[in-house]
Symmetry: D2
Subunit: 495 residues, 4 copies
């Protein structure tokens, strides 16, 4: 089983040939397993029955140590897997190496999972990698099977799902459209990749779409795309919205960012957070976690919001709520966590204090108007260290931009920590099982996991934290009309 | 317009005859208006168009200063109102007096709203009062109208709604059943009141039910009853679940308790909270507010939960999560905020530290097993001051029980503060308008307010806190697919 | 033993004649004893040896429930006591009644301690009361003794100490000076009282000063006066600065205010603290406690400071630090805790938001420029309830002034809670013992308690909070050069 | 000017020959200067007058980026400097390279300061390096001067000071004693170094001691040694205790650890801190900062203390206070910040949860009983990555030990951040100026900086944080008896 196709850039092959990298990754995996009790519990529960036997999963999700534990869990439950990262900077090379080599393999005889991901991909490389997770010809040959692609997608941000939808659309149209004036550079890269694909096959994406039992999607952005596809009747297969499991959105987003925002700031800049003024754009779960973390380090936090309910929450939690325009000159650290675009513009940057830090924990790099910055006359970029750039501005001042405006908790730190990801990924695995084992329950559409499974995810993480759960007595259960074993809440309960 | 019918107990008539009481209440109202910007904004917006003209509202909700501002807002929007409290201890007599006298009335010539409520009612008095808000004969006579009851209910806990349902049920049956063995004392009182009603009229509740356009319900408990009635097809008129507006449940429950729990503890006991061990049963919105308040005062908080998701949240927020049985001997202050029953039992009390404090911020007095305490051999109750009882136990130790196990934030403090109630009550007024003005939109069933109205409630409270809201640019609005003026979130968003 | 001399105003005599008042006070005392483990431990340790036998203590300290436990502790250790309050508003009448009646007395046959204090004294009454604690003629007669005054002072704020010094000064001069133009009204009242005294005796204060073994002083202000007297060689007897015991200043000031500031705000105004902007003047221990409490309730806190070190601490703790002038229009609640004067002036008040709250937790009422407010043309004072005045200002807006600008935690709440006061008062008792038992160790000067006694005070409060103290092993003790039983720190250690 | 003498190990020479290392360090310095406003202000104030002209400073302090800014500040004020680190792991090689090359030098023609430090020294190398900062023969030759050593020490932990004292002692004795049975390994290395020294010169340390005008000492441990030397009359020159400046101890210790503890944990382990149980040994300034940081990340913190006052503070701040023995099985992360030894023993480690993390933020590696761990039968050490070791224990479980039990905030992170160090180092520079410019004010003894200088340090850091300082009016200054420009507090004020 080869790790990278012949046309792959050489980088990753080189990396896994480094024995110590795979070994270091394996050490990290072992530690991470201790912090991912949900996944380990699923291995115990389903390791023998192997409900995912026959599942061929194309995974597009940050190739970190935690994802490595997820991948090996999927494999333990019977699945075959191919993997790419969903972000050009987020791969941890040692984790990728370890997963490629596999728990029982060696560098010379890798026995792991085909992984197409390394830290610092170009956009071209990124979309090449994503394409690779749909090419199951080697596996098909080995299995003597007729299929050529996956039957499940595990997605983060929706790039893999989008590729199938766009690929099929252009195959049906017989052509990939020319680049249009307003398109982003990245969209051009995607079109080029699909143009290349169309020269190789006129139906690979169409066939792939037909084979897919469904997708389980990790993030807000990806889910948003799925609901749009469903609304416009374009969605080609059922989807489970993992993002909106309580144990995902309220944990990954809030507690994950609470951890990784200061971590990323520290690794990137070593700047004392205490005493600083931190601006947090957005007071959703991500913003709540960011604001709590910054306050917990002694910063003064100013929040911005477009939604009056979230704005009122921020005020009630003791934060100043202001528009960026009103306070930009006072702020030391800017954190954008909105999912919106152009939240921090070049005009704002020109007004910032010298060496103000600009960080994105939302999703796309357009939360910060990097395009405008890159085309700003007189702006000079000086790399301080990888993922930390000083932009010297015509104002005579500089700003520090982290991870080129992309997700700094991934680019400057190591993403969400294992325990948080264990919650998210336990949802992912349960969702994969649901879609794969019970496809009849899920006609094309977007679903969230049943509350009882959401509660199960939480339940699998309590012992590790020493939490004692109280159990309803039969009398209390009858009084409340709630089963002692759950589910405990109505669907619209907000936690 | 008389304040109390001839058969009323003399207490309240006496109280409003006390000029200074009504005047003191009016001062409180004026201050409260400054803290209730949502209600005052509705008076500005709807004071001329008077959308509630013709509405006859039977209100059953704690007769506090804040409710007084609500009542005068309803009146300003055109409604006629009769009012009772929904708790025997929660009335603030000065507020009741002020509302009865009215803004332009005098003690001798009251020009306000008929109010049937005073602090410290007996259960018999309580249900007599609740009955009075359905007797609109005086208003009918004055109006030369055929109706005899209200056409709207504004309810808190569902007592008024239940009275109509039970009254009609027994009228249709032609008899009120005899007291059954397992019934609570209070249910016996209700049956007695309805038996008396049946001797006076055989169809008053049936007619009332027919006239009612709907009910707007304030609390979890009342909403729970409504969903049960709807599920069993017994619900007689549409209901708006105000409790589950975000600006109600996440504000009233969380931020209200955060304020009023320490307030009640302080007024009741003057015990230093700092350094103490506080046990909070339940980590819903009420428990979250309670835990935050206690930590904010320097207490160490231990939480109990039955729901693994909430339990995990508590752990992630840094609280120890344990069963009461495991920690009861270490705790100084017990706070129950679950909505469950028998959360704190007599066996627990017998194991508590000397003078441990036992407080309920949930709903009914059965969160704490008061019945068992009252029948415990050898237990002696010594009143320290009103609503604060020392129970000397056979263990040789005492516990301090606040408000006889009922809601201590109402009994020992003054309930939720005005600003919090302004959120809840702005929802109430908007819900009354919805049901009264657009009954066609609401067939019999239980509804929550549209998100845009929920957001409107928040929006009306921002200026008072100096909050600057960010506005989406047209480009951002298009990018997100969200109108700049809202609604901003999907319905299942959890805030 | 009479409670009040014939010339006393009738108020207090009336109050203790109210049986329920003394009984209510006794209930409060019993609860407070449970919260004052330090004092109760001293009763156990010294109740038999009675080290204060022969001590005649003139006490001038807020006559609260906690002080009542202090007084009964002093009596249990052998002392005779006479008591006045040190603030016209701070007396809790039930505590005063209980202490006057005594644990074994009755209203008709009081067997307690002569107490000269009631809530709401005039300044004339206040200084009359303070004078009474120096008139021990009844006790002298009963004892057949030659002395006429106390031999110890227990002071809070230094009024009793000042009275002796001024009285003696004027007796030596043979005359009390006439009122001078710039003198405060209160100083005129003091001069009048001493003028009256001089007509009655020409040497009572001179004799009193000679008999006094020393004073133990409770507060910053009183200590400041003592150091000034010592510096100018005018101090007449040794003083122990109780205020600067760590277990006093870092506990009473910080943790006491943290508790009683929100308590006072709530009882006075019922205004939601969450979401509000609170300005805290001063970031000493009092300001630190105030800021923490307000943040703990969800307020946004802005701090002002004159000392760059404290200002930097406030910034590092995440608070905005600004001058009052810069932010006065944004603030909802003003809290002054500086010990300075004219911190909040009328010009500030004229710029405040409508119904902004103005509260003093520092010391004198001149932290807020009440004199200027009272003489402001067009300002009208409307009492909302006792200790809460709305001042309608020429600006067309009002401000709410608590406790007439005096200590709101005493006037609007019940002062520091028992547990905090147990720390302070355990220091007081140990200081009284030191000065009375070992006068030779204390030539005229101002002293702090030895660190070992300070640590003892803390030690006596640990069990009640369930604190397990770690004990140095002999090896660790040797390694550190610190005795296992303490003292543990160098004198300049800052905690 | 050579960076390393011929006998130096090759490591460092190699490192600075790496151009990118020095350049990367210079980038870091430039960023750090923005975060060290106190030092930059001193360059502005004293850059022309050069008060340190003629000072020859031997520096022994962690060779980090921040120290580099300190060194260049000393040079800017006129001093000559030689530098070693005071910890074998704490050097940041890029900072060392930048400082050796100097702002105007190149790798080939270094024009900086002789630096003897690299990350990961052996103990032999460490003491060799420390010896080098006392060998000023090259500088003497260049200057044609008679002196051979420094005239000032800037010390951290007291190693440089100790070396002079021990060296002189053995020179006077004519021999270095043989290793004794109970001596630590490190003491043996020191003796060996001094034995070698004695073969080269019989009076170099004696001469050095005679030339030294004094030492400024950074840490608790070093200060403790100085007070012991002073008490035993062995101290050879005056010392300024920089550690006990408020702007050092209350900032560096508390706010520095608050920042660098989570930073070090994250870089070392990536373990989610939220929800975990963290044990913090010691509640001094270091422990306070550690506990606040852990709580701010959502951990539950248990504190241990030997001092009842600090224990009571911890309880009042809402932390459980327990002995390690009582809770060791519940804890996920152990943090020792006491200054004591054997705080965490092997017996504790054997009882810990699997993969519990053990971290030292105190001073010496003996806070954790590493010696006993290293000699524990059956224990196996597996390096996960540099400074992170898994110790597999006979219990069948593992513990993760950070930085081999030495300071993890230095070994696993990058030490205190620049802003915090700017406070400490501004004190250092002011202290060097005091001792060097005004030696007559400082007879042999240990001193703290005058409060006005301490306040000056704070003042120089306010603008960077946007702090507005309030200024006393002349009337207020007179009222308080405090100069408007300070000092503001009595010496024993605790902040």
């Amino acid at each position: 089983m080869t790790v990278a196709a012949p046309t792959a850039p050489p980088t990753f092959t080189y990396k896994i040939a480094d024995l110590s990298l795979a070994e270091a990754g394996r050490h990290q995996l072992r530690l991470a397993e201790n912090e991912m009790p949900g996944l380990m519990a699923l291995r115990s529960e389903f390791g023998e029955s192997k409900p995912l036997l026959g599942a061929r999963i194309a995974g597009s999700l940050h190739m970190t140590v935690q994802t490595a534990v997820l991948i090996e869990t999927l494999v333990a439950l019977g699945a075959q897997v191919r993997w790419a990262s969903c972000n050009i900077f987020s791969t941890q090379d040692d984790a990728a190496a370890a997963i490629a080599v596999g728990p029982t393999g060696t560098v010379d005889a890798p026995a792991g999972v085909p992984v197409f991901a390394w830290k610092g991909e170009t956009l071209e490389e990124y979309w090449w990698c994503t394409t690779q997770i749909f090419d199951w010809s080697a596996e098909a040959t080995a299995a003597g099977a007729a299929w050529t692609g996956p039957n499940m997608i595990l997605d983060d941000g929706g790039d893999a799902t989008m590729l199938v939808h766009k690929g099929r659309e252009f195959e049906l149209a017989g052509a990939v459209p020319a680049d249009a004036a307003g398109d982003s550079h990245e969209y051009g890269v995607i079109l080029a990749a699909l143009r290349q694909s169309l020269t190789e096959s006129t139906d690979r994406w169409t066939l792939a779409a037909a084979d897919l039992l469904g997708v389980t999607e990790e993030t807000t952005t990806g889910v948003h795309r799925l609901y749009e596809l469903a609304a416009s009747k374009e969605l080609l297969f059922p989807a489970i919205n993992v993002n909106d499991s309580v144990t995902k959105s309220k944990f990954d987003n809030k507690y994950g960012i609470r951890h990784s925002l200061p971590d990323g700031l520290n690794r990137a800049t070593d700047v004392l957070i205490g005493g600083k003024v931190v601006f947090v754009a957005g007071y959703g779960d991500v913003g709540k976690g960011a604001a709590e973390a910054m306050r917990g380090q002694g910063a003064r936090v100013i929040v911005s919001e477009i939604d009056p309910i979230n704005a009122l929450q921020a005020a009630m939690d003791g934060f100043q709520v202001a528009r960026l325009d009103s306070v930009v000159e006072q702020v030391d650290i800017f954190v954008s966590g909105t999912g919106n675009f152009n939240v921090i513009g070049v005009d704002h940057m020109l007004r910032m204090k010298h060496l103000a830090i600009v960080a994105n924990v939302g999703h796309f790099d357009n939360e910060i108007d990097m395009a405008a910055l890159e085309s700003l006359e007189g702006a000079v970029k000086v790399q301080i260290k990888p993922q930390v750039d000083e932009w010297r501005l015509p104002s005579g001042r500089s700003v520090l931009v982290l991870s080129e405006g992309r997700l700094m908790n991934l680019g400057n730190a190591t993403g969400h920590p294992s325990f948080v990801m264990s919650n998210s990924f336990t949802n992912q695995v349960l969702a994969q099982i649901e879609l794969y084992v019970s496809p009849e329950k899920y006609p094309i559409g977007v679903y969230v996991l049943p509350k009882l499974l959401d509660e199960k995810v939480a339940r699998l993480h309590l012992d590790a934290l020493g939490v004692e759960l109280t159990v309803l007595t039969p009398e209390q259960s009858a009084y409340l009309g709630i089963p002692a074993e759950g589910p405990y809440k109505v669907d619209h309960y907000r936690y």
